[in-house]
Symmetry: C2
Subunit: 371 residues, 2 copies
Amino acid sequence: MANEELDYRKMSILKAVIDDYIETQEPVGSRTIAKKYDMGLSSATIRNEMADLEELGYLSQPHTSAGRIPSEKGYRLYVDKLMKLEDKLGFEPTAEELEDVKVRMQHEIGEMSDQIRVASELVSRLTEYTSIAISGAADGTQRIKALQVVPVEPGKALAVIVLDDDSVKNAIIQHDKAISPETLMKVSTHCNLLFAGHRVEEISMNMINSVSEATGVARTALMPVIDGIFECIKKAADTEVHTEGAVKFLSHPEFSDVGKAKGILELLNREDLMIDLIKECSTSDGLVIRIGSENKIEGLNECSVVTATYSVNGVKLGTIGVLGPTRMDYPRVVAALEYVRKRLTGGSNLEAPEGMAMLPGGGSAEITEVK
Amino acid sequence: MANEELDYRKMSILKAVIDDYIETQEPVGSRTIAKKYDMGLSSATIRNEMADLEELGYLSQPHTSAGRIPSEKGYRLYVDKLMKLEDKLGFEPTAEELEDVKVRMQHEIGEMSDQIRVASELVSRLTEYTSIAISGAADGTQRIKALQVVPVEPGKALAVIVLDDDSVKNAIIQHDKAISPETLMKVSTHCNLLFAGHRVEEISMNMINSVSEATGVARTALMPVIDGIFECIKKAADTEVHTEGAVKFLSHPEFSDVGKAKGILELLNREDLMIDLIKECSTSDGLVIRIGSENKIEGLNECSVVTATYSVNGVKLGTIGVLGPTRMDYPRVVAALEYVRKRLTGGSNLEAPEGMAMLPGGGSAEITEVK
DNA sequence: GTTAGCACTCGACGCAATAGAGTGCTAACA
DNA sequence: TGTTAGCACTCTATTGCGTCGAGTGCTAAC
């Protein structure tokens, strides 16, 4: 705990101010610090130090006769050096909750890898903030586990592919009625042999010749089927987003103005923006914290984002981001994301949590500083 | 246009009051009516009539020196007898919008029948209110078009079923590794033959014997596979909900209080409640309007719901409901739902709209009165 | 039956006075 | 030299009060 321009006492006071502000959401005055946090100093001394901290840019004043609130620079120092993580979840998920999550992770399957979606729900519940999940790598490196063309009715079929994160993509195919179900199955089997185990990015249009030759189906008749398969692959390459707990923004006093709240919720609906937001942070493998205007999305200047990317057995499941007001409870958010990491990467077996002992005790070398 | 207790003049005035209130969202006074709506009457006369209307329960006063606002009884009469529907959409969807909708309806496929979901998006955009869509019949009467078990990797497979509304359900299967892909295919083919064309409700557990006998696979080994298929069927029987434009609630002055808005948005997230809400109205085939406390959900007393159920070729696609403040623009909502009906039931070909000439001209025998 | 006129009611708005929280500064103190 | 007590000052939030205006209900005249 050292800093080029701040001594121990200043840092203690800064930490106390931010802790208190996170807790109360109100500007904090020198008297409060002197009384609530036992520093052995009078309010006057703390006042002087706070004036210094303001001059250095770590704190600011909404107006002359109010207490201080942290600046972005203050938060930055706080998350990098000051905050304590122990015991920040405050409560443990109940056994039922865990059982529920466990069941859903094992049994459900859908467009997005459900593990990451369920994890996102859990994070939102633990933190009381909005959580945004984006699916897997979505960079073409996912592998295809299986592919099948299912005949549905004359002239109609369904293309299905399963990816390595167990997510499923499908697309309807309208084809020439002359193609029999048997022929479709033959095409299906051939394509499966051809693609299974390969990366999405490796699949090219040239395959159509090979399939046509191997199955004896005319190229033109085959086109719709191939198109359907490609549509699946295109879907696999699309990043998917899932937002959980958007309403929670309305609980924060920062957004008690309906106009502001509306602005944020509208942004949350913009999937393209959210993908950018989370993806930009997901380059690193550790936790990434972006404070206030550090994220580049217009209208999210008063928000912070904390993201964590999850992989199981080398397969990138996706990235979960927590979005909340700049004054969010960073320790709690970091604790929640770390907690979920243990749950996910420790295999799919969700045991009862052993409290927060698993979390890094004090400072946090694990947090990657961005920008 | 007749009513046991109201003469023509009273009804005209009531209609004028409600039209104006829907437009301005402010209590409307006698002077406004006299000036804006050319009735050939002085404000004093209208004042007297309005006092009568209040006494009869069609209008009410927020406070002594304010204008009148419609009561639920007033709205009821309005939607049943008074409102005019012509030209209420006010604008037509642009060609690009229609093209977009068309493309999505044809190409996408997913858990919920996409037609109904895309239609719901359109309704929300046309009305500027929140739209809630629930999927198909979900009463066990849907037919299975196709069923297939897709081998994914040793010990893992995927069950896929396609229903008659072209929605797809799937479930992951963890099975005995001893079952080879070939055996799985055999099971798959057998089940498909057994189930295709049948209703979901007809499928019973007894099938396991038949499948076991026909394929020569031991019953116990077959269990996980059958379970997977049943999970699909269970999903098919689950009603799915899709909410569109929830944020739009924040645009209505009625919900400029964040607490109120939060309450509503939280209700909107309660899928079970929304299903009940929409389902309850979807018994009828026509449009159903529920005003204020006519719907039974606590916390939705200040909201109205208008629902329409859509079927194509006898297959029930689902029900779309519009949820908005009691003071919603009923004519516009009805017009939008009817417009979408023409689009959906007129086949999937979405031509450019021919204006609102297609809408019923005046009174609306098509609207089912509930309760 | 309709209308003009008028007194009355009640919320919305603007303004000034007040209370309270917190600061910065100065002077005294260890 | 660093710390603290005291005090004047600043600024916000709240409250109370007077005014304005919209709209009503009632009465009397047409």
